[in-house]
């Protein structure tokens, strides 16, 4: 059988090696290699989605072979309904962000090497089913990201990169402790994520709680859950555009995915115990993120805080502990990746023209940039949850799921919908409407390549908005399986 | 007579050693060191180890001290009175070394050493033989080290263009 997952994971690594061997001057060639490899990954991921059998709960495309037999470490890859859409999301955003990497103007060679390394890490995290492997990929995401922010970022890049790195590392160290504990709790010692749940769910309740919290620390920082979110605005703002796209589109999903793959199935008792706390955190994320986003004058920072707010809906769906909530959370993860990816691309395009992100300095861009205005409005509407676009479906299902479990809390968090609409429309008003603030000539409208990077995302927004079943069909069975295990 | 000589040479070595670490002029210090080494060499002779005594004089006083003096002269401005020659841990160092000395002294005095009456001289031939038989390997290593030091010294000391 064709080892499609290994190809998905290691193709970018191969691309990185090729770029490594190229001479420093061949920037165009490097971009070409990176684009081709990420396009190949995208095609492979499409192939994966098409070949995915939807009715099955168990892992598919499994690749198992012993790796370090002394420690019972396996090279174990596989996808199920929880991860397949995220693999596709990673491949898609990876390709688009790569296409948008034209704004990187120095040290391109290192950039493309690190970028593809990052791709490998992200893909690997989503498909690894062995804790050892998972942890390696999890950390592998971190290091290229550190350099990508720290070298090609904005004025405060060192601070942001360091903060991101240390913050995330602090979480993953706790996760490492938990992984080791889990490893030794099984006889024979095992890193197998799928089989360990039979062991961990029978552990003492306090130990389960402790382990859940240790994993929670790692995932909560990645999601990010209030109050562990402050690395996010800094990292997002300072990162270059394509990296912001990846950061918001994929990296945040790692945390939420961790809850689905590890936190909940491995520690069902703890998951039940903490579900209400998670819901409260979700509520805080939604409202607090939205409120802070409302107060922003920096375009990118606003989008960053809107991510905090939107990930709150994921948490709410997660905390709902029912099929609708889980489906909503998974869908919202996918949607948020698509929408926020597009938003960051749009911010980057504006920044390339205006060299500022201060919302108060724009105005009336509908006039000189109608196409840009269309896309910005479109993505904002998707983000604020306009029905007919994808953002709505995810939020709707998440809220509906959590409403079934926590009535009042969900009703309060629905206020987030209003505030979200508020800050997005306020942003639109400041950027697109009103009299034209500065010299309109510097605002040339979008070029064909930019439109080409945005169009796939907008098409997905419409398609998923009208036919959410396109994504939901992948998750349905896996969610049912997870729920059956949890109850 | 011999005993008196040993005592006086030993006391001399002590005094010179103390002087060599106590004076502020580094050149004087080197001179006091050479005297100390000379005394130690005398002690070797008194211990019936003339070969070592000769080596001591040749290598130390003839070689190393000369090198020291060269280095001192090359690095100039040594005699400047305004520059402190000791760092700020004089007192505690003094205390530490005195305590160390007391400790050593107590250890030495606890043992009834007695006196070494007649010391048979080890013939130089035997010394050379054991050096080239039993201690062949360290000897060869030593030569290797000396070679490395030579090359290293030249490389480090070379004025870069």
């Amino acid at each position: 059988m064709f080892p499609i997952l290994s190809w998905l994971v290691f193709l970018p690594l191969g691309g990185a090696l090729v770029v490594f061997l190229l001479p420093k001057k061949e920037v165009g060639l490097m971009r070409g290699v990176a684009l081709v490899s990420s396009l190949a990954v995208l095609i492979l991921s499409l192939r994966l989605c098409l070949g995915f059998a939807q009715g099955k709960t168990e892992m598919q495309f499994v690749e198992v072979s012993p790796w370090i037999p002394q420690m019972n470490v396996m090279y174990f890859l596989g996808v199920d309904g929880l991860s397949v859409s995220l693999v596709f999301l990673t491949a898609l955003l990876g390709f688009l962000a790569c296409a948008a990497s034209g704004c990187i103007l120095h040290r391109q060679k290192e950039y493309f090497i690190l970028y593809q390394l990052l791709m490998t890490g992200m893909m690997g995290t989503f498909v690894a089913l062995d804790f050892f492997l998972f942890y390696i990929f999890w950390e592998l995401v971190l290091i290229p990201m550190y350099f990508l922010i720290g070298i090609w970022g904005g004025p405060r890049r060192e601070y942001a990169a360091m903060k991101f790195f240390l913050y995330t590392l602090a979480g993953s160290v706790l996760m490492l402790v938990a992984i080791i504990t889990v490893y030794f709790s099984a006889t024979p010692h095992s890193f197998n994520m799928l089989e360990l749940r039979n062991v961990t769910s029978t552990l003492d309740f306090p130990l389960q709680i402790f382990l859940f919290l240790a994993f929670f620390a790692a995932f909560a920082i990645k999601v990010p859950i209030f109050p562990f979110h402050t690395w996010l605005p800094d990292a997002h703002v300072e990162a270059p555009t394509p990296i912001s796209v990846i950061l918001a589109g994929v990296l945040l999903k790692l945390g939420a995915y961790g809850f689905f793959r590890i936190g909940f199935p491995l520690f069902p008792a703890a998951a039940h115990y903490f579900s209400f706390a998670l819901a409260i955190l979700g509520l805080l994320n939604v409202l607090y993120g939205a409120c802070v986003a409302m107060a922003q004058t920096d375009f990118k920072k606003m989008i960053a805080y809107s991510s905090v707010s939107h990930m709150g809906f994921v948490l709410l769906g997660l905390a709902a502990m029912n099929a609708t909530g889980f489906n909503g959370a998974l869908l919202e993860m996918f949607n948020h990746g698509i929408i926020t990816g597009a938003m960051f691309l749009l911010v980057g395009m504006l920044y390339d023209r205006a060299h500022t992100r201060d919302l108060n300095q724009f105005g009336g861009l509908s006039g000189p940039m109608p196409v840009y205005a269309f896309y910005l409005t479109f993505c904002s509407l998707a983000s604020l949850g306009l029905p007919g676009l994808n953002g709505f479906v995810g939020e709707f299902l998440s809220l509906a799921g959590s409403f079934a479990s926590y009535r009042i809390l969900t009703a309060i968090s629905a206020l987030g919908l209003i505030i979200t609409a508020g800050y997005f429309l306020y942003m639109l008003q400041r950027v697109l409407f009103g009299p034209i603030a500065t010299n309109p000539r510097q605002y040339s409208d979008l070029q064909a390549t930019e439109i080409l990077t945005l169009t796939p995302l907008t098409i997905i927004m419409i398609v998923v908005g009208f036919f959410p079943i396109v994504i939901l069909q992948f998750q349905e069975t896996a969610v049912q399986g997870l729920l059956k295990w949890l109850f | 007579m011999v005993e008196f000589a040993i005592y006086s040479i030993g006391i001399g070595a002590c005094v010179f050693a103390i002087l060599s670490v106590a004076v502020r002029d580094i050149f004087h210090s080197a001179v006091w060191l050479s005297l100390t080494l000379l005394c130690v060499s005398g002690l070797y002779f008194s211990l019936n180890a003339p070969f070592l005594g000769v080596i001591q004089v040749l290598v130390y006083i003839g070689g190393i001290i000369t090198l020291f003096i060269f280095a001192i002269k090359l690095t100039a401005r040594i005699g400047d009175k305004t520059i402190a020659q000791t760092n700020n841990q004089v007192l505690i160092s003094l205390l530490a070394s005195v305590v160390f000395f007391v400790f050593l002294l107590s250890a030495i005095l606890r043992h009834p050493w007695g006196r070494l009456a007649t010391v048979k001289e080890l013939p130089l031939k035997e010394l050379g033989q054991s050096l080239l038989t039993n201690y062949m390997l360290p000897f060869e290593f030593l030569s290797l080290i000396l070679l490395a030091v030579m090359v290293g010294a030249i490389v480090i000391g070379k004025v870069k263009k």
């Binding site: - | 011999v2 005993e3 040993i6 030993g10 070595a13 002590c14 050693a17 103390i18 060599s20 670490v21 580094i26 210090s29 080197a30 100390t36 130690v40 002690l43 070797y44 211990l47 019936n48 180890a49 070592l52 001591q56 290598v59 070689g63 190393i64 020291f68 280095a71 690095t75 040594i78 520059i83 402190a84 020659q85 000791t86 760092n87 004089v90 160092s93 070394s97 160390f100 000395f101 050593l104 030495i108 005095l109 050493w113 007695g114 006196r115 070494l116 010391v119 035997e126 010394l127 054991s130 050096l131 201690y135 080290i145 000396l146 030091v149 290293g152 010294a153 480090i156 000391g157 004025v159």
Partner: protein, 102 residues
């Protein structure tokens, strides 16, 4: 008649004087001088005990011989370093060599 404890005491004095010098001298050459004192203290002990226990193959003396050679090598390298440093930094005071300090 050789007073063993006296020679041991002399050795101890040399050693402690050397320790003091190493700890207090700012001048690198001064430190090297003090190191020579320490090595000599050791040598003296080695030779003394070689005689005292009456070794047959002169191990103590050979040991001392090696030490002399190593000390010579060490001081050569040390002094060359001192000169190289002096050439670069115009100082041979230890507290001025802080290029690598945080």
């Amino acid at each position: 008649m050789i007073p063993v404890h006296f020679l041991l005491e002399v050795s101890a004095v040399l050693f402690c004087a050397g320790i003091y010098g190493v700890l207090t001298r700012r001048n690198v050459i001064g430190i090297l001088i003090s190191i020579e004192l320490i090595l000599n203290a050791a040598n003296l002990n080695l030779v003394l005990f070689d005689r005292y226990w009456g070794s047959t193959d002169g191990l103590g003396q050979i040991f001392a011989l090696f030490i002399v050679a190593i000390a010579a090598a060490g001081s050569v390298v040390g002094l060359v370093l001192v000169i190289a440093i002096y050439r670069n930094g115009k100082s041979i005071f230890t507290d001025k060599f802080n290029l690598l300090k945080w």
